[in-house]
């Protein structure tokens, strides 16, 4: 059995205090935030148990929208993929992944399953009317122009964009394109539809 003298005890205590200080500093959270997952991700509880955090999906993503979660997203989330619409849209609905979603094809664990394009709903977009150029009186219809889903963004008085959370597929195209500073649009996981594990 290893011998632990007083000096060793003090050293260990010092190291432990240092580690605790680090975790406190970086606002360590276990569960963390609700992230927007790539299309075809299985329901969250199973997803966290099945995802091996290898990053293959993020590496294969052609638009670079898939990022790997860090400590800031919560301890359990570290290394899992999330959609960051500020870096690009998810092109499963329209664009390079229309034929086959590369993240679904590459995932080795079944955490992201092959799901039909029509069944994709990764979340929905929320608008902050205070930051929106159109709602402030300017002429901007960028989100309406780029939206690939008919009816997800409609125009009130042919001028003001209104979002339909039910129809929105959560691709993040509008968020990426939004010219307002700060962005008037945020992509959330509200209303996401996810398959159950095999």
């Amino acid at each position: 059995m290893a011998h632990l003298d007083r000096r060793d005890f003090l050293r260990l205590a010092g190291v432990s205090a240092f580690l605790i200080a680090i975790y406190e500093t970086f606002s360590f959270e276990f569960e963390g935030k609700e992230l927007v997952r790539p299309p075809g991700s299985i329901i969250e509880d199973s997803f966290l148990a099945v995802c091996i955090r290898c990053g293959a999906c993020a590496k294969s993503c052609p638009t670079g929208t898939l990022l790997l979660a860090t400590w800031n997203d919560g301890f359990r989330q570290i290394g899992t993929p999330k959609i960051d619409a500020l870096r690009g849209p998810c092109e499963r609905i329209q664009g390079r992944c229309e034929q086959i979603a590369l993240c679904q094809q590459i995932c080795p664990t079944g955490a992201i399953q092959r799901v039909d394009r029509a069944d994709i709903k990764t979340g929905s977009t929320v608008i902050d009317r205070d930051s929106c150029i159109a709602w402030a009186g300017g002429s901007c219809l960028v989100c309406h122009e780029v939206c690939p889903v008919r009816g997800a963004i409609s125009l009130e008085d042919e001028k003001y964009p209104v979002f339909n959370a039910q129809l929105c597929a959560g691709c993040g195209r509008c968020v990426y394109a939004c010219p307002a500073q700060p962005k008037a649009l945020t992509l959330t996981s509200n209303g996401e539809k996810r398959p159950s594990p095999l």
Binding site: R7, D8, R53, C54, G55, A56, L67, R76, P108, P197
Partner: protein
């Protein structure tokens, strides 16, 4: 005579060959392959999967194999098979974290810095014995597996410095916003104590590979019992795992780095195929 000359040439070149292998694998694991060491997809249904990750997934799902994906289980078998054939060769020839730690150790060596624990005299060597102990990494291994079963997610993957290194390199600028900035410098700082401190005492992946490689019969260092052998114990300080070749029985800890072969002051170590 010619034969022994050629062998002598190889002896001095082994470290260079290993550096080449390590750097190549570092680039391949992080940048060239789809995925990382955790699971690297090499082709249709063929993969290499790091076994601790797979075991954690199986435990996190309550012991269920179904629906895990064939390539993952194939990758698990490939990694375990390679370990049965080559022992812990992964640790010293291919592991991206091992390479990084080796680079840190190399830097310390170039700066003429002598790690703390190698400075001490014999009776003081037990310092921090509670960590510097052959069994600590199995403790980390068991905690990782039990934690995964209890918390229903592969908890070690969140902490693992190998994964952090791969994912951090992948994320680029994103690295700066996570406390991942802390994990890698902390592991590097352990090398202030002893070379390859992390690999030797703490890494649970190394612990798992050690358990598997108890069944590996190949490439073990042997002592030539002739006049050259002095029982000096130099191999114990040379070896990154601290193996004394005269006393060791199973060589499960051996990472096949062959430092003992190239650095034995009396040239008394050779590597037996069986």
């Amino acid at each position: 005579m010619q034969e022994s000359n050629r062998l002598a040439g190889l002896k001095t070149k082994i470290r260079t060959i290993r550096w080449a292998s390590q750097i190549t694998f570092l680039v391949v694991w992080i940048f060239l392959i789809t995925g990382t060491v955790c699971t690297a997809i090499l082709g249709r249904g063929f993969a290499v999967a790091e076994p601790l990750g797979v075991l954690q997934l199986i435990l996190a799902r309550g012991g269920a194999f179904s629906g895990l994906g064939v390539s993952l289980l194939v990758g698990f078998a490939v990694f375990v098979g390679a370990t049965l054939l080559l022992g812990r060769a992964f640790c010293s020839w291919s592991c991206p974290l091992g390479t990084t730690i080796d680079l840190v150790d190399k830097a310390f060596q170039e700066l003429k810095f002598k790690p703390f624990f190698t400075r001490r005299t014999a009776e003081k060597k037990s310092s921090l014995g509670i960590v510097r102990n052959g069994t600590t990494k199995y403790g980390v291994l068991v905690s990782a597996l039990m934690g995964s079963a209890l918390l229903r997610s592969p908890v070690w993957c969140s902490l693992c410095p190998i994964g952090t290194l791969c994912r951090g390199a992948l994320a680029g600028a994103e690295l700066s916003i996570g406390a991942q900035l802390v994990t890698l410098p902390a592991v590097g700082a352990l090398s202030l104590g002893e070379k390859r401190f992390w690999c030797r005492y703490l890494c649970p992946v190394g612990g798992l590979l050690t358990i598997i490689s108890r069944l590996n019969p190949f490439l073990k260092p042997k002592i030539q019992h002739d006049a050259a052998h002095r029982n000096c114990g130099a191999c114990e300080t040379i070896c990154p795992e601290g193996i004394n070749i005269c006393k060791e029985k199973t060589f499960a800890r051996c990472t096949k780095c062959f430092d003992c072969y190239s650095k034995c002051p009396f040239g008394a170590v050779h590597i037996g195929l069986f």
